[in-house]
């Protein structure tokens, strides 16, 4: 002990027997007190983990679970829609939430390739496989509901002044990408609207993103597709 005081940096002897501890076993390096201390700490850690980890997983689970149903809803007969203008329809996004789970969408017929004349109409070629254009009213800025103004052929957001053109592409204001759309199909003369998808400024399709998530240039890599969508 006296030697240790001279040099405080000197390490304790490896074996407990050499430290002058009473009742030390030969070859023992960990004291019984240390062992039980560690054991008690570990037992406490296991006990906390036993309830903490399942609880954490329970709270975080919805982030990693695909929750969007791939179901299609009927929005009316094919005669209801034309290629010139959007028709508002109400669909249900989340059935359990009553009014809050419903949303308005705007639907028009995709202009067939043979009839595409103006520049505007030629943009329909980008999503030709979709018989109808079903535009979501969720603003790509922060999710307020946009409305379609027939006179100006534009979608306008009431919250922060986002303006979208006929195709849903950004014409002005803060939105970072065009309005989302829904997959469509026709069955027995009825138009069906399915899951949501997002678009970049070239109207290329992406898995659905939240409003405010960019999909162009380098920005798109900061907002990858999430497991929940």
């Amino acid at each position: 002990m006296a030697e240790q005081k001279k040099n405080p940096r000197q390490r304790k002897p490896r074996y407990t027997a050499d430290r002058g501890i009473a009742g030390a076993y030969e070859g023992e390096t960990v004291t019984r007190r240390r062992l039980f201390e560690g054991g008690a700490q570990a037992a406490g850690g296991v006990a906390v983990a036993a309830f903490g980890l399942p609880a954490l997983g329970f709270a975080l689970g919805p982030m990693f679970e695909d929750q969007l149903e791939d179901t299609f809803q009927d929005v009316g007969p094919v005669e209801d829609f034309n290629t010139e203008d959007y028709v508002p329809k109400v669909i249900t996004l989340v059935p359990e939430t009553a009014e809050a789970g419903k949303t308005t969408i705007y639907v028009r017929k995709t202009v067939p390739a043979s009839e595409q004349e103006t520049e505007e109409q030629k943009l329909d070629a980008r999503n030709e496989d979709q018989p109808y254009v079903a535009i979501s009213t969720r603003c790509a800025h922060l999710g307020c509901p946009v409305r379609y103004v027939t006179a100006s052929k534009r979608f306008i957001c009431p919250c922060h002044g986002g303006v979208y053109g006929f195709q849903g592409q950004v014409d002005g204001g803060p939105p970072v990408r065009p309005l989302d759309r829904f997959y469509t199909k026709v069955e027995r003369g009825r138009v069906l609207v399915g899951p949501r998808f997002s678009l970049n400024s070239k109207l290329e399709r992406f898995a659905p993103r939240d409003p405010s998530n960019h999909l162009d240039g380098l920005w798109q890599y900061l907002y990858p597709s999430r497991p929940s969508t």
Partner: protein
Amino acid sequence: MPPKPPVPRSLQRKPAKPGANGNGAKPSMKDTAVEVPVSVVGWLDERSGASPFLRGFLYRKVPKGTNWFYTLGSASMFAFLSQAVTGVFLAMYYDPDPTRAYESAARITNEIFLGELVRGMHRWGSTVMLLLVFLHMGRTFFFGAYKYPRELNWIIGVILLVLTLLMGFTGYLLPFDQRSFWATVVGVNLNSSGPVVGPYLADFLRGGPEFGAYTLSRFYAMHMLLIPGLIAALIGAHLYLVAKLGTTAPPWLKAEKSKALSKEEV
């Protein structure tokens, strides 16, 4: 004044017997009654050792120049207590179901006895609490009370500020009217605008990619259990550090020169 009616014999005080109480009488009912709270407090104090702790905590010395600005911290805490009490009782009548939340909140205001008052106290109290917390923070900043050795308490205070803001955010949805719904949609999407982790944060808040069946109950659980628990715990730590480190004098007070020291200089 007319003469008072005579006191019934059973209620008349009996004359003291000689002997006990210095003169032989039993202690009167009144004397016994007075002793009850004293002995109860004494019983508790003897077993908990509370009084030395409370004396140190409540009668600690404060620097010269302590003024009304130093009450902002306690005021914030009392605002929190008021929110906690009114919130607990509002929870008795509130129903966090998306189809019934609005009706239950409207019923609190319109039908339940004192409902408008308690809901109003909670609603306006939230604004008052935020104001007080900000003023308290300003006081700490401008008085330089965040400096060594109180940095840790400043950090705890900043976390408390963020938690208070989160209380406001999660509570705003609960009336579930158009305003609160769309404000929350926008607020959650603001969270989503953060790169990489933002969309996950939004998913966590909503409990999924859409504002769904459990979003309201998630917000409710965070608002009344998760965040208040954290706030209460951190207020405890905050107060402990205040009591341990003491408060600072206002910056306009210069330290007095010790006479003994100036003598030695000469």
